[in-house]
């Protein structure tokens, strides 16, 4: 990480403003070293105390979010790639989700949905949270083929390509984007067996008497939209506060990886995009506690974020 500025200082011919470049490089190198040695000390002092963040955002600003559906064309029935891109390009979270389906025997007239998260080390709780949430929002009855005998079982595989903060948000958005993009294949039922067809044209060629179903896209009656925020207790600067011992809590929207390590608590709120008063999930954990005003603030911020995210998911489908 440390660059050696000494080299450039000697070749003064190529740089007219050599000294300014040198100072800039030295400043960058020192900053990198400081951040990697002790982020706990430097991120609050250098950035948060001055109301800014390492990637240049303000406290209430989330990273730019892009959701690209249909990126896996060959084997997946539906897929989506979610990118949360930080300002300077150094703090990006990338998550890819793909949906495949198997036909199996259900217990009731509904299909099944299973979430697998890779890499799976330490991600058991996240996998369980995503599984619970998706089971709540999916209408599993649309996956049924023959009541009690055959139904689709969806396998949602979520791959965290680049974890850099707010992975729960990115994973949920990727899963929802992939499900919206999913088209169940056309099927035909013959003598108690179910066969999948390659495309709708084949389905139309079949005799009318055969039971067959055209391909259908999944209908999501509820669109879950998440927001993750981190909380950090920082000492108020001397100008703000008469009492130096006072430390106030600062909330950060969409913390990046390095910020998440320094944060002392994290809250994730998931709202229904189609009815933003409906909270689908509310999870807070941390070393510090929050009061009711913080809770109300988090819920308000989640609504704002849901309004930002909703057009992204409605366009993509």
């Amino acid at each position: 990480m440390l660059k050696a500025p000494a080299q450039k200082a000697s070749s003064s011919k190529s740089h007219e403003l050599g000294s300014a470049d040198v100072i800039q490089e030295w400043a960058d190198a020192t900053l990198q070293t400081a951040l990697s040695l002790d982020p706990n000390a430097y991120i609050p002092e250098l950035f948060w105390a001055h109301k800014t963040r390492p990637d240049g955002r303000i406290f209430g600003q989330a990273r730019q979010t892009t959701i690209t559906p249909g990126v896996l064309q060959q084997n997946a029935l539906g897929s989506a790639l979610v990118k949360l891109t930080g300002g300077s390009g150094t703090s990006n979270t990338h998550v890819l989700a793909g949906v495949t389906a198997d036909i199996g025997q259900p217990s009731a007239n509904q299909g099944d949905l299973k979430v697998t998260l890779t890499p799976s080390n330490n991600n058991g709780p996240l996998e369980s949270w995503l599984q619970r949430l998706l089971l709540q929002v999916m209408d599993l009855e649309q996956l049924g083929i023959i009541p009690g005998r055959a139904a689709f079982g969806l396998d949602v595989t979520i791959c965290i390509l680049n974890p850099n903060g707010s992975i729960a948000d990115a994973c949920l958005l990727a899963a929802v984007g992939a499900l919206q993009n999913t088209a169940l294949p056309p099927i035909v039922v013959q003598e108690g067996r179910v066969y999948t067809l390659d495309n709708d044209a084949q389905q139309k060629e079949l005799p009318e008497s055969w039971t067959s179903f055209a391909s259908q896209t999944l209908n999501l009656p509820v669109i879950p939209l998440p927001l993750s925020m981190g909380v950090m207790r920082i000492k108020a600067s001397k100008e703000d506060d008469n009492n130096n011992n006072e430390s106030k809590q600062q909330w950060l929207v969409d913390p990046s990886g390095e910020e998440e390590e320094v944060c002392q608590g994290a809250i994730t709120v998931v709202l229904d995009g189609l009815d933003m008063d409906n909270i689908l999930s509310l999870d807070y954990q941390g070393k510090v506690s929050m009061d009711h005003a913080d809770l109300a603030l988090a819920l308000r911020m989640a609504k704002g974020r849901a309004q930002e995210l909703l057009p992204l998911l409605q366009l993509g489908s």
């Binding site: 709540q136 209408d139 909270i279 509310l282 070393k287 506690s289 929050m290």
Partner: protein
């Protein structure tokens, strides 16, 4: 849900016999009877058997002890490790992980975070405090019982705590045409009803208005044909206020349990 509520003598009761509605129609919320037995295990440094109605959770605390895995060691703090065993045997078909065992992984992470915030970790640097929980009987509100049981066991073990976390479990349910009912301490069949919402709020004893953790298990909202209980911002804030009021009840109970244990021990040691 009508089947969990029976009418007898014009009083509407919940499935476990508690009153549902007051005479004026407002929700009557009560906690189930609590019971706590300390030092029930010989080998553990601290242990407790916590009962909340029919839910029973046993906690055993080992620690502060030296970490078995060197990477677990933290230079300036104690590491808290929570393991939940539910006693459910792994089924033959390992393909479908039972949802409950995965939920318990989430609870382990949540309890680790809450206990790390409440234990005076800087006093026990480079050690591990291990909490092993066994769900003896599951009749709803298990997460709260697990937390209370572990705190009782930690007190029994003599681990110093900077704060006492109290978990309050809320059940949001629709009862006929009444507006959303917020009930406390649901039992198992109230929790598993897919139309109901469960919200667990953990508050701290030092300032019950502050929240240490929340955990939600909301209703299956895709069934649009029936009305389901939904969690809204005002409901969450009402729950937070109710949690602040319910906190002292559990703390008082802990104090009673500890006082009994201390007097019992001192009688054994000093009576002669």
């Amino acid at each position: 849900m009508t089947s969990s509520i029976s009418k007898s003598n014009n009083t509407v009761r919940r499935s476990d016999g508690r009153l549902l509605l007051n005479a004026d129609g407002s929700a009557c919320t009560t906690l189930r009877p609590l019971s706590c037995e300390l030092s029930c295990l010989q080998r553990a440094d601290g242990s407790s058997l916590w009962k909340s109605g029919s839910t029973q959770v046993m906690a055993a605390v080992y620690g502060p002890i030296a970490p078995r895995i060197p990477s677990q060691e933290k230079g300036d703090e104690a590491q808290v490790s929570v393991v939940i065993k539910s006693g459910r045997h792994n089924n033959a078909n390992n393909n479908s992980k039972s949802n409950n065992s995965m939920l318990e992984r989430e609870w382990e992470q949540l309890l680790t975070s809450i206990l790390t915030a409440c234990i005076d970790t800087h006093a026990y640097a480079r050690t591990v405090v291990e909490v092993v929980l066994q769900v003896v009987q599951d009749d709803g509100s298990v997460l709260a019982a697990a937390l209370h049981s572990s705190v009782a066991a930690l007190m029994d073990a003599g681990v110093s705590l900077t704060n006492l976390p109290v978990a309050t479990t809320f059940l949001l349910s629709i009862h006929k045409e009444k507006p959303l009912l917020i009930l406390l301490d649901p039992s198992s069949n109230e929790e598993t009803n897919p139309e109901n919402c469960v919200l667990v709020m953990v508050t701290e004893n030092n300032d019950p208005k502050r929240i240490l953790a929340t955990h939600s298990m909301t209703a299956t909202s895709s069934k649009k044909t029936k009305t389901v209980a939904t969690l809204s911002a005002t409901t969450v804030l009402s729950c937070a206020q109710a949690a602040a009021k319910a906190t002292p009840a559990v703390v008082t109970f802990w104090r009673l349990a500890m006082e009994q244990r201390v007097t019992r021990e001192s009688q054994t040691l000093w009576s002669s």
